[in-house]
Every structure is written in C-alpha cells, then in structure tokens.
Amino acid sequence: MANEWPLWEIFIRGQHGLNHRHVGSLHAPDAEMAINNARDVYTRRKEGVSIWVARSTEITASTPSDKGPMFDPAEDKIYRHPTFYNIPDEVGNM
C-alpha cells in the first residue's frame, strides 16, 4: 500500500545498565512517533530506561548461508577462554 507507515526496529536498555537490546519492531510515520509507540508497546511494565529506534531498511544483516564461514572459525580457538589454562591451586584465585 502506498502510504503504509515504515517499519522500525526497537532497542531498549533495561534498568540495570546493560546494553540496548533488540525487543521487536513496530510501524510509525517517523522516528519521534516510533519512540512514542515503542514506549506504549514495549515498556508498559518498566522494562526500560532508554529507547533506540532505527528504520528496518537501514539495518544490514549477515546472510544465513554465510553462517559457517562467519562463525565456525571461532569454534577451535578454545585458548580464548580462561578455562583453557591450568593454574595450580596454590597460586590462589585468578
């Protein structure tokens, strides 16, 4: 339909200082209304203290078929995790 409102992706930061998190999307004519609507749709129970909105069309996503080449290389790099290293108990907490 010609004058269908654009879609916005909604990101909300919760009370405890964590990152903004994607919570869903909604339609609105502009950014200001998107924030107003996001307040009503996604924060009715104090779910957030800050809202970001972004036009869905402005988001570039990785393609599902690239999942292997993109993410598999991290699989065999277990030395990136602290548990890879054996530290003797005598050393204490590290």
């Binding site: 269908e4 869903g24 909604l26 502009d30 209304m33 009715r44």
Partner: protein, 329 residues
C-alpha cells in the same frame, strides 16, 4: 485456539523419502529444535501456513479487545477500570507483536488488515460472543485468557523464531489477565445472591465457547499432523482441552460455582475429568460468520480502520514534509 483450524494446504505428513533435499534439511533442523529465522529457506507451505496462523492469532488479540473494551467505561470502581484498561492495552500489544512476527514472512501489515476486513482471514470464534454483564469480565479473564495461556505456553517453543519470541513476551503478560478475571469472580461470588447468580450465569454462557477455543476434536482436524511435524502446533486440540478442563473445574469449585455440564465427572482410571463436548455445529456456524456478534465485531474493526485513515495519512504527510525540510536545511 486463537488460531483454530489453520489450513496447512495438505492432509497428512509426507514421509522422509518424499521430501526434497532442502525440505529434508529443513525438517531435520526442526527435529533438532533449531529455530527457523525469517531469512532461512523454508517450504512455501510452511510460510503460508504460518502467515495464516500468526495472522489469525494477531487478529484475535485485536478483535479480542472489543468485548472487554465494552466494559471499560462501566467498570464498577476506578481501580477495576484501570485494571481492565491495562489488560485491554496488553491485548493491543499482543496483536502488534504478532503482526510484526507475521510480517517477517513477507506479508505487509496493511495486507493483513485487508484480509481481516474482507473476511478472508479469521479470528478466534470466542470473540463473537457478547459480554452482557460485569461478571462476564471475570469469566473472560478466567476462562478465555486461561484457555489462551494453555495454548500459548507450549508455543514459546515453536519452530519459527519470531513467533516463539512473541509468545515469550505474551506469556509473561497473560497470567495477570487470568488472575484479574478470577479475582472479579471471587468478588462476585462473595457478594449478594444476585451477584453470585450473575457469576454463575457468566460461567454458563462462556464454558462451552471456551472449550471451542481449542478447535475441533482431533479426529476432525486434518491439518494437525503437518502442523505438529513443523512444530507450529505443540499439542493436539483434545490434549489441551482436557488439560484446561482438569485445571478449571477445581477453580470453579473453589468459587462455589457449577460447571454447566451434567456429565462432568472425575474419572479415577484416566486421571481426567470426563466432560461433554461443545456443540460443534454452533462452532462451525460462528466460524462461518453467523455467531451472535460476528457482524458487530468486524464492523467495529472496519469502522476504526476507515475512520482512522485521515489521521494515518496526516501523520505520514507530516513525516514526509519534515524529512524534506531537513534535507533542504
């Protein structure tokens, strides 16, 4: 349920040897409980069925506001008014979460709206029954939201990611709905004899329509097997209906109310209540558009949509003008 009798475009499930390699890989992901996301390959029938199911679910949330909205201005106290308003607002939110999930499958919001208004897409039969007294607000929250919860909790594990995530949000909000309904019933039954009578009358009228929410009996629901293989349906209709009856009967007893079913009896052997089936001819008639309120409900939706057009257009025009002004500055 909120989505009753959803057509999967096929009868029965095809065997593994009848699937194309793509279809087999898709089914294997579902069997491994890996979520399907919007950009992933999926069979056309899965996409189509899900649009139908999620769309029907969304429409039910939106149309479902009407029978309760009817009582917002007439709630007996300011507190009950605020509670009912909050509940109805939640239902609007549920509709919006679900429309967004459906849109990730490649249908637009306006298309969904048009399909509702033209009657091509359905909403749950339950919302075609009238809410005649304040006790109906109790019965609706207790029974209708209670039945919805029964269906929605397992759907949190459904195979399509956006649908599952919408369900998680919705389930978090639903239990308030059921409890506020039951709380209204508790007030009514501890009131005057006339008030208690009103509560019984509401239960009498909503009991069978609530049982219908789970959809036709398993032997009559031809699309169940495919939907269950795709994990867009997690339990059979009869399973959920039985669970609902088992849970609800003791709650009615606590209220001192009688379930309007002379054949309702605890079955020691099966560990379930035996109960009477609703009138399935009535169910079919309501789905076809001949329930007590079908015309009124759809009429109200169309009126709101058409009456709001100038406003939606105005906001869009303003947004466009403001964007041009910004570009020029």
């Amino acid at each position: 349920m909120y989505a009753q009798n959803v057509d999967t475009g096929s009868k029965g499930v095809r065997g593994a040897d009848e699937l194309s390699p793509e279809e087999a890989a898709f089914q294997a992901r579902i069997d491994d409980n890996i979520k399907i996301e919007p950009k992933d390959w999926m069979p056309a029938a899965y996409r189509k069925t899900l649009i139908r199911q999620i769309g029907q679910h969304a429409h039910s949330e939106i149309v479902g506001q009407l029978p309760e909205g009817n009582w917002v201005t007439r709630a007996p106290t300011l507190e009950r008014k605020a509670i009912l308003l909050a509940k109805v607002q939640d239902e609007a939110g549920h509709g919006l979460y679900l429309y967004c999930a459906a849109e990730t499958l490649g249908i637009s919001r306006d298309e969904l709206m048009n399909k509702l208004h033209s009657g091509e897409m359905k909403y749950s039969s339950i919302f075609n029954y009238p809410t005649l007294t304040w006790a109906d607000m109790g019965a609706v929250g207790w029974l209708v939201d209670g039945a919805a919860i029964m269906n929605q909790v397992p759907l949190q594990r459904t195979s399509f990611g956006p649908y599952a995530r919408a369900m998680v949000r919705i389930c978090k909000e639903e239990s308030f709905h059921q409890r506020q309904g039951y709380s209204i019933m508790m007030s009514m039954v501890s009131g005057t004899p006339a008030q208690k009578e009103m509560a019984q009358d509401a239960l009498n009228r909503f009991w069978y329509p609530a049982l219908m929410m789970f959809g036709p009996s398993d032997k009559d629901s031809v699309h169940s097997d495919q939907s269950m293989a795709w994990k867009i349906k997690m339990n059979t209709n009869d399973e959920l209906r039985q669970r609902f009856v088992n849970e609800t009967v003791p709650q009615a007893h606590y209220l001192g109310l009688t379930i309007p079913d002379d054949d309702l009896v605890w079955n020691e052997e099966t560990g379930n209540y035996d109960f009477s089936q609703p009138d399935w001819d009535e169910f079919k008639a309501v789905l076809k558009g001949n329930g007590p309120c079908n015309r009124e409900r759809l009429g109200a939706r169309i009126k709101a949509w058409e009456g709001g057009e100038w406003f939606r257009d105005g906001l869009a025009a303003y947004a466009e003008k403001a964007a041009k002004r910004r570009a020029a500055a």
